[in-house]
Symmetry: C2
DNA sequence: CGTCTTGCTGTACGATCGTTCAACAAGGTC
DNA sequence: GACCTTGTTGAACGATCGTACAGCAAGACG
């Protein structure tokens, strides 16, 4: 008889590689089984490892889930940043590249939506998810801010545009700009959501058209800021591109559910 | 010593009342604890009953959850329908009433969003949830369809407008109308989502303004269908209000995540 | 007050959950 | 080939899950 070649029962991997594999298995399980897929045994089976290995690379399950959330989040943001950077320096081309990246894989993926939805459900009750979101969300915010700022060149870059202020007694032009920015962000999210829910309803290119039409209507309703500086100063000095960008990035809640800090969660005795 | 008044240890309730109470407790638990709140013991404690009672009124947990989903779904739709009906017969007033109802409680509620998100996460993997959605979603669809049809009077009500068709070689007017309807729906969902995530960013009344501006741009970009019939026939006969309504109700996926029937879910051996 | 219906309780059960940990072995080093 | 480091295994634990069911009792009825 031939000597039995002692086939290894498992292969050791560097921690970083194994961690990445476990994160990938977590996301895959979420796609397949939804929230029920978030169990140690399901994930370890998907990754082809034993149950104990997860706690060897992650302190606990919540940390693994948060790492998975951080992964898809940063993967998306990095993809968007790369697409915009690849588009060159023309503001219009950069915005178009962003929109086309936004409305194509891997962003525009029904499976991905199913994964996002589970994370959203966890968000309000998991500090780790909140932290992972906050850390990766910043990249998305600054990307949008930069694109809008260069698309609608302002007179002066006022960095101190305070977040959250609502110019109640402002001129109509300012109000329209702020609303338009909010609406644009809603359009991005809403179209993305709708397509993922029912991909047959419209083509991604049509979503890009819709968004560009909205952008065009922005420039049309407030051309004084981008073209004629003198007119802008007359209408309202604070109505600059950076303010629009600020309002927009405030409004653009993107995929992640931000922590609202709203009404204090009732903390009655549970059970 | 005074005779101990034999205080009843529990109070019997008619099945329908108790069922409703259990449904209410389920929603309340979802608001408080998210997905973790969906346990028999948590819900029964919230309702102030024993663990066994739930299975006395519902065959199993999934049926209770589906009933809860059906409840908030139909509650919302009925509220919208009532608001529109209260507005009278003017199409514009009815649309405004709808928008104001959409952008106010109980629709516009961050707690409610947290509940919706959990249901969305369950949708793809629960036939019961899918059925509950399908049954209640019809009311929302017909409400939107009716409002748009009366807002943009068509030449002839073509009921057989097939769902899902995409006039690729159609005239530009038709494409714009379809896209506009899709965009309007995205605007509704996106604004609703954004406000629930970050209520401080804009006021509900501003969201109403945004939507009405979009509606106005609909009438502006394609007035031929609503005003001059002769022009419409020349441009494209199929571009009617009812087609817009059909396209819109296809696009308006509302809150619920529709079953996509997309790629067949990989059914590998689990565990 | 006695009787009957049935809404309701609460223990029990098996399954599965996340986590722990002692033992194993893969694979580099000498 | 012996040794050592450490990635990996898998049984075991207590907690919690959804469900079943035998028995209790609330409250209507005669």
């Amino acid at each position: 008889m031939a000597r039995a070649a002692p086939k290894p029962r498992f292969a050791r991997q560097p921690p970083q590689v194994r961690r990445q594999a476990l994160i990938g298995a977590t996301i895959e399980c979420l796609k397949r089984y939804g929230h029920e897929g978030l169990s140690i045994r399901t994930i370890s089976a998907q990754a082809g490892v034993s149950v104990g290995l997860i706690n060897h690379h992650f302190p606990n399950k919540d940390e693994l889930v948060a790492a998975a959330y951080r992964h898809i989040n940063s993967e998306l943001v990095l993809g968007m940043q790369a697409a915009v950077a690849r588009a060159g320096s023309s503001p219009r081309a950069r915005m178009r590249a962003f929109l086309e990246a936004w409305f194509s894989a891997p962003s525009l993926d029904p499976d991905a939506l199913a994964v996002w939805v589970v994370f959203w459900g966890l968000y309000r009750h998991s500090r780790l998810i909140q932290r992972a979101h906050r850390e990766t969300y910043q990249g998305y915010v600054s990307l949008l801010r930069g694109m809008l700022a260069e698309l609608l060149p302002q007179r002066r870059a006022s960095v101190n545009a305070r977040a959250g202020r609502r110019p109640r007694s402002a001129g109509t032009a300012a109000v329209d700009l702020r609303l338009a920015a909010i609406g644009f962000s809603a359009l991005l999210d809403g179209l993305w959501l709708e397509w993922c829910l029912e991909p047959g309803t419209f083509r991604p290119a049509e979503a890009v058209e819709l968004c560009e039409a909205w952008i065009a209507s922005l420039s049309r309703s407030a051309p004084q800021a981008s073209r004629a500086d003198s007119q802008a100063r007359v209408r309202r000095s604070a109505t600059t591109g950076s303010e629009l960008a600020a309002a927009m990035t405030e409004a653009a809640t993107h995929h992640g559910v931000r922590h609202t800090n709203r009404a204090p969660l009732r903390r009655t005795a549970r059970r």
